[in-house]
Subunit: 103 residues, 2 copies
């Protein structure tokens, strides 16, 4: 329902107040960001983004209360998953090839 990319998009809309700015920051087209938001808005019982509000003069976008809850629950899920799977994550990382510059 939600993955790292969509969660980041919601987070950036929340911080920038703008779908266009969020898309730009993620190197994503405005059209793609809009489609992802429309999918999310249709997926949940209430919209997660309200694009008729936000921004200094309106015309921006905000996370609705549902959107804020969805994002918070997703981040909590992610934190629990990382904590619970620490051993497996470490095992998998140890099998990864070294990348120059530590990146």
């Amino acid at each position: 329902m939600l993955g790292p990319g969509r969660a980041e998009l919601l987070e950036r809309i929340s911080s920038t107040g703008s779908i266009a700015a969020a898309a730009r920051d993620m190197g994503m087209s405005y059209k793609r960001a809009w489609m992802l938001i429309e999918t999310l808005n249709a997926m949940f019982r209430a919209p997660v983004v309200d694009s008729s509000r936000g921004g200094p003069g309106g015309g921006g976008a905000i996370l609705t209360e549902t959107g804020q809850t969805v994002l918070a629950q997703y981040r909590a899920l992610e934190a629990r998953a990382i904590a619970a799977g620490a051993e497996e994550i470490s095992n998998l990382q140890a099998m990864l090839r070294d990348i120059p510059d530590g990146k």
Copy 2:
């Protein structure tokens, strides 16, 4: 490094002994499956798929020992994450819109 789609691809290669069959079962082009495998093979210290072996007359593909370990660790991580995040997953699911036919 690995997500649900790549894990499923590895699993299907393991069960079918064929990249082409695995791709077909997932509705994915052979080219895309190959690119994903090449990415994974380069990402880990040892290849995860050996496409010079497997299949009755050769020409198929098998998971290497590294590939089997990667897949097993990923599935274990997934199980731990689902168990640890049960409350958040349930909260998120409760916010989803009902879909007709219970699908």
